[in-house]
């Protein structure tokens, strides 16, 4: 008899614990769906607004040129500046993050950590102003040197811009901009490298750097890729810094030190939008659609790279 009396209790108790679970599961699912809805909404807006520009004959478009011919230099400029930024910033970020997580004494590490977080909060317009006001004039000498001694590499073919408002400087400004975010992410993942595996490496007679190569970097790889992608995303979409720094002529060139450069999609939209009307607006939105697709693709490729060796990720 007692057992039958006891039995209902857990039954009534059960739904209570489940309620919390249900609320959590429901809100998590809701948040996930919300993100998808927003994303779909953005995509739908871009598609509908870009559509008129896509179907319109070339002669109706501003500048009377084919839509693809209009967007291509912008896309090229976007990718080139972002890639420069990423190539410069990632190794630096890894170095700074490793210094903070594994080399610096605790006090210095903490101070540096705060500093990096602080840098991440600086608005991009400030970086833009710094780029055009300080870095651009200051790097004319460096670019002249590059052009003189490495001029045979097409990247530095010149003629060197006198103002310094070049693709190289733009890339460097972007690199400085995305450095904090990549560093912050890298530092977090490096700090999370399991002590167990670090000690395993040290006990095998690894030096500190060998330990980092064996236990820290492989562990942090996927996190690092995510961090780099965050940085790349920011560089691809960066508007003000590019708009302020880069001197634009619309040519497609790998020449990083001259004054004739392609603009980037985001900067171009910002600069052209106030004067655009009619189909011009649709053209700009079409270029925005391209940026949207590129960013999405970049992220998917990064995911793919991360997942390809996920069985070795240590997550299991």
């Amino acid at each position: 008899m007692t057992t039958t009396e006891v039995r209902p209790e857990p039954r009534t108790a059960k739904p209570v614990t489940q309620l919390g679970d249900r609320i959590f599961a429901g809100s998590a699912k809701g948040a996930g769906i919300l993100i998808l809805v927003v994303l779909a909404g953005v995509a739908a807006f871009l598609l509908t607004e870009a559509f008129p520009a896509i179907v319109a004959p070339a002669e109706d478009l501003p500048g009377e040129q084919n839509l693809l011919l209009y967007i291509w230099p912008l896309l090229f400029g976007t990718l080139l500046s972002a890639v420069i930024a990423l190539v410069v910033a990632t190794p630096l970020a890894v170095g700074v993050a490793l210094f903070i997580s594994h080399y610096a004494p605790r006090r210095i590490a903490q101070g540096l950590g705060y500093l990096v977080d602080l840098l991440a909060a600086v608005p991009s317009i400030v970086y833009g102003l710094w780029g055009v006001g300080v870095l651009a004039p200051a790097s004319v000498g460096l670019m002249t040197w590059l052009n003189t001694y490495l001029g045979w590499i097409p990247l530095f073919a010149g003629p060197v811009s006198a103002t310094g408002r070049t693709m190289l400087v733009t890339g460097l400004v972007l690199a400085v901009m995305i450095l904090p975010i990549i560093t912050a992410v890298a530092r977090e993942v490096f700090l999370q490298a399991p002590r167990l595996h670090e000690e395993a490496a040290l006990a095998l007679g690894a030096t500190r750097w060998e330990m980092i190569k064996m236990a820290v970097l492989p562990f942090g790889r996927s996190g690092l890729v995510s961090g780099a992608m965050l940085g790349l995303g920011r560089a691809l979409g960066e508007t003000m810094a590019v708009a302020i720094v880069l001197s634009v002529s619309g040519v497609v060139t790998f020449n990083l030190v001259s004054s004739g450069n392609p603009s980037s999609i985001a900067a171009n939209i910002a600069l052209q939008f106030p004067e655009a009307s009619g189909l011009g607006v649709n053209v700009l939105i079409a270029s925005g659609l391209v940026l949207f697709v590129v960013t999405l693709a970049v992220n998917m490729i990064a995911r793919y790279i991360v997942n390809r060796r996920s069985e070795f990720s240590g997550a299991n």
């Binding site: 605790r106 399991p194 167990l196 595996h197 000690e199 395993a200 490496a201 040290l202 006990a203 095998l204 007679g205 690894a206 030096t207 060998e210 064996m214 236990a215 492989p218 562990f219 790889r221 069985e311 070795f312 990720s313 240590g314 997550a315 299991n316």
Partner: protein, 259 residues
């Protein structure tokens, strides 16, 4: 390829806290020495000081002499990296590198010493070490799979294979079976019995039967109270420690009348 260890008045610290005090101990080559004692008495701390893993913790340091065949491991100019290459270690929790295959795990230490070794040399080492760790038959068909995909007992044997792949002089084991089932435990105990033909082995264990089964010598550590340093109370042949120890504390501990 096996050496004697000699600790002389060894004091071991975490910052200013003296965790282990005044250890004098001789460990003969090609023997198994078990370290037993209550929790917190400094067995792990002492073990980790033998291969200078103790000092990877911030503020941790050691006073006194620790000799490997007469060579002072804490002498000036002694590189801890070199010490660790001679003295291998197996941890309480199996810790194969999750980002490496079984094969790469085994040769991880060898890669550090000998970067230009030929593929055939690596292959030989992998087979020899995995056979040595009684794991070869279980994994020979999936050497390229991640080490983290093995069972706990297999992972621990993989860690032993990794440690013996570099042919160290000494093998330290800190409760290597505490996370394992009885069958895997027996497999590792058998392995220890085979390994002592080639290596000096020091093993920390909480399991008296295990100490009695695998070791030739046993050292009993004790601690007087929290915050006090741990001390080596008595060290002798295992059968003496378990049958007629000289100290009362040892007798109480091994007969389960502790505390």
């Amino acid at each position: 390829m096996s050496k004697n260890i000699e600790a002389k008045d060894l004091n071991i610290y975490y910052g200013s806290f003296r965790a282990v005090e005044g250890v004098n101990m001789s460990i003969k080559k090609k023997t198994v020495t078990a370290l037993i004692g209550p929790s917190g008495c400094g067995k792990s701390t002492f073990l980790r000081s033998i291969n200078r893993m103790h000092e990877v913790i911030a503020g941790a340091h050691v006073e006194g002499r620790l000799e490997l065949d007469g060579q002072d491991l804490y002498g000036p100019g002694m590189d801890p990296v070199i010490v660790r290459r001679q003295i291998g270690m197996v941890f309480q929790r199996p810790n194969p590198f999750p980002t490496m295959s079984i094969y790469d795990n085994v040769i991880a230490g060898m890669r550090l010493n000998n970067k230009k070794a030929k593929k055939a040399e690596f292959d030989d080492t992998v087979e020899r070490s995995l056979r040595g760790a009684n794991l070869w038959n279980e994994v020979k068909d999936r050497l390229d799979k991640p080490g983290s995909g093995l069972s706990g007992g297999q992972q621990q044997r993989l860690c032993i294979a990794r440690a013996i792949a570099v042919q160290p002089d000494v093998l330290l084991m800190d409760e290597p079976c505490s996370a394992l089932d009885p069958i895997s435990t027996l497999a590792i105990e058998d392995l220890i019995n085979e390994l002592k033909n080639e290596y000096t082995i020091v093993i920390v264990t909480h399991n008296m039967q295990q100490a009695a089964r695998v070791s030739d010598f046993t050292g009993f550590f004790n601690i007087e109270g929290t915050g006090k340093p741990g001390k080596l109370v008595e060290m002798d042949e295992t059968k003496t420690i378990f049958s007629q120890p000289k100290q009362k504390a040892t007798e109480d501990y091994v007969s389960g009348r502790f505390g």
